[in-house]
């Protein structure tokens, strides 16, 4: 039983630093998802944990063992790759058995374990096939079977679902979670898809440019993003980020937006305002905290021209422009709005938050 600790972890290629001293403690049996845009260093971090990438600085602990100099095969980890990385010349059964053979497990035990893993993943009927004779979803399952068959301390996943179509992705997502409940094991899962992160994780690690932006439970990230980056990354559509200038004080406290409209700041949004280092701030407001007059308006009206109205059936998304920024409103499905027409969108500042424009950090 082992958790995983990353201590000031650094990766450098020549003089370019791509991972800048990451600190993270992952509990035993915890499911942690690394999420971030392409090139932010998620895979690099995961590969350092796996031992496939040299560690330029810092320490990695699996349990209480420092594994910096331990070879991948001896770290007691299993990894599922984006392109499955099955052995093309071996049958599914041989693929599952390979790691056990390398550990010198007795034959009879290998057979039982392979049968058991195949049972768990419902691939028993595929054991004699070659990977080339399997569908994408089946290959993914075999790759997972190869990971669980030897009961490792840590599971590592690098974008395992990105080669599957949308429907299968949702299904496999559920499957991986089910597997984690069935065989609780410390898991690090890398993805650039925030929905995957939100739905699967016990805790989400949001990365950007080789730094950790924020670590937290999915709802924590949604409700209290620590930076504008997290605010703009988590949620679909993400939080609206409206740059503006603070004015007035006390009850007159307001925020002048790019188009000149001044929004009175009331309620919880004022909590961190005195921390602002200058008058330049960013107002963060979730699309569901933006409404229209017809819905019994909450908050302050902002006149916009509607660029886009997207009826999605369950809801309607309306997009308006304020200066150079877009304001998205999540509305009831039956609203009658016309793209191109002017409208008032109401911002509920009680459910909004402020960020320092310079440091991009939340003011709370």
């Amino acid at each position: 039983m082992a958790g995983l600790v990353l201590q000031n972890l650094i990766k450098q290629y020549g003089t370019t630093r791509v991972v800048h001293g990451i600190n993270l403690e992952i509990e035993n049996e915890e499911f942690v998802v690394f999420v971030g845009p392409s090139g932010c260093g998620k895979s690099t971090t995961l590969r350092m944990i796996a031992g496939l990438e040299h560690i330029s600085g810092g320490r990695i602990y699996i349990g209480d063992r420092v594994v910096n100099r331990v070879s991948p095969g001896k770290r007691d980890i299993a990894m599922v790759f984006q392109n499955y990385a099955l052995y093309p010349h071996m049958s599914v059964g041989e693929n599952l058995a390979f790691c056990l053979q390398q550990r010198g497990t007795p034959r009879a035990e290998i057979a039982t374990k392979v049968a058991q893993a195949a049972e768990t993943l419902d691939i028993t009927s595929l054991l004699d096939r070659r990977p080339s004779q399997l569908s994408g979803g089946q290959r993914q399952r075999v790759a997972m079977g190869r990971a669980i068959v030897r009961n490792p301390e840590v599971f590592l996943f690098d974008e395992p679902l990105s080669n599957l179509d949308a429907k299968l992705r949702v299904q496999m997502r559920g499957e991986i979670k089910r597997l984690h409940r069935l065989i609780p094991t410390t898991t690090v899962y890398v993805t650039h898809d925030q929905t995957e992160a939100m739905t699967m994780a016990d805790r989400v690690v949001v990365m950007n440019h080789g730094h950790i932006e924020q670590v937290g439970r999915p709802l924590e990230l949604y409700e209290k993003p620590a930076t504008t980056f997290v605010a703009g990354f988590i949620g679909s559509p993400p939080m609206n980020l409206l740059p503006g200038t603070l004015s007035g004080a006390g009850d007159d406290l307001g925020l002048t937006l790019e188009n000149g409209t001044t929004v009175a700041l009331r309620g919880k949004v004022r909590a961190g305002v005195e921390q602002a280092r200058s008058a330049n701030v960013v107002l963060g407001v979730r699309p569901e905290a933006v409404g229209i007059a017809a819905q019994g308006p909450q908050g302050v009206p902002v006149p916009v021209t509607l660029d886009e109205v997207e009826p999605l059936g369950i809801e309607t998304l309306a997009y308006g422009s304020i200066g150079r920024t877009t304001l998205c409103a999540r509305l009831a499905p039956d609203v009658a709005l016309q793209a191109g027409a002017p409208a008032d969108l109401f911002i509920d500042t009680d459910r909004a938050m402020l960020f320092d424009a310079e440091t991009t950090r939340a003011l709370t």
Binding site: A50, L52, P72, G73, M79, F81, A85, Y87, Q102, R103
Partner: protein, 308 residues
């Protein structure tokens, strides 16, 4: 027929929706290849078959003698011993080339610029013609003023300049050394493409599965580069079975005709003894042997491929 065609497809037949609009274009494009194959392979082969049924002196009238050439060939000890020698040479030189080319391929299979440099260096002798390379080596090996003799004498390793072409094994070994020097780079490149066709993540998966370097090589890398290995094997075996220049120039078949290869003996019969018909019959027998070897190699490939 033309009536139905004009009336459109009948209801039972599925309609032909697309048809290659320029069939003549396809024909035109393969014509050069057909011409080449016809003129340079089929025609000479037909002539060889034709000549093999004749007593065909260089000057004078050819005379039809049926299968006489072949029956004489069956009892021709010199021909069969040249075939045996060629087989021995093939086994030795192919093994030697693989023993050298495989480590080289592993050495230059890294993403360093210096590796690219060595790749080029190792490949360079390949572009030299066999005749030129063999001539070069005869100079190098010359006991009186050759570079090798000079180096060995100066370094004090030997008292008298070695004369490798004067006995069988040294002569054979010297030729094998020359061929390895000249050909290993080519096999190295083929094996290198095989090595590089093994996906990185598969190798990494094997690392994580706990396979050490040797286990990874034997159980993952080798099976995945099988096609390259077989290609290299077939090419090397074929070329070695057809060896001629290197022995003609370096050993001249000696000592005492012990290094006469199959093609060499065909050459001797045809152009020293001027028995073109008999030489043709020998060529055909060699062709049959080569086809048999290739077919065997292909059969092994297909047999191994079947479970996929």
């Amino acid at each position: 027929m033309s009536e139905t065609a004009e009336a459109g497809p009948s209801p039972e037949e599925p309609p032909v929706v697309t048809r290659e609009p320029h069939q003549w274009l396809g024909a035109a494009l393969i014509t050069p290849s057909l011409l080449f194959i016809g003129l340079l392979f089929l025609l000479p082969m037909g002539m060889t078959v034709w000549m093999s049924f004749h007593n065909w002196p260089l000057l004078g009238e050819p005379r039809f003698i049926g299968l006489e050439n072949f029956s004489e060939l069956m009892g021709d000890r010199r021909f069969w011993s040249s075939i045996r020698f060629t087989a021995l040479y093939t086994v030795l030189v192919t093994s030697a080339i693989f023993l050298v080319a495989f480590p080289l391929a592993l050495l230059v299979d890294r993403p360093l610029r210096i590796a690219g440099f060595f790749r080029t260096i190792y490949f360079m002798p390949v572009v030299i013609g066999f005749g030129a390379a063999a001539t070069l080596w005869t100079w190098l090996l010359n006991p009186d003023n050759g570079v090798f003799a000079e180096l060995l004498l100066r370094s004090g390793l030997v008292d008298a300049a070695p004369r490798p072409t004067e006995s069988f094994w040294p002569a054979l070994i010297v030729v094998i050394l020359m061929v390895v020097w000249k050909q290993a780079g080519f096999t190295m490149v083929i094996l290198l493409t095989g090595l590089q066709s093994v996906p990185d993540d598969v190798t990494e998966a094997a690392k994580i599965d706990g396979a050490g370097p040797l286990a990874r090589f034997v159980r993952v890398t080798l099976p995945l580069m099988r096609n390259s290995i077989i290609l290299a094997l077939v090419l090397n075996v074929t070329w070695s079975m057809l060896a001629f220049d290197q022995f003609f120039i370096i050993t001249q078949g000696g000592p005492r005709n012990s290094t006469v290869t199959a093609v060499f003996s065909i050459y001797l019969q045809s152009f020293s003894s001027y028995r073109l018909g008999y030489g043709s019959a020998m060529s055909l027998v060699l062709l049959v042997i080569l086809v048999a070897i290739s077919a065997m190699q292909m059969a092994i490939v297909n047999f191994r491929k079947a479970p996929e």
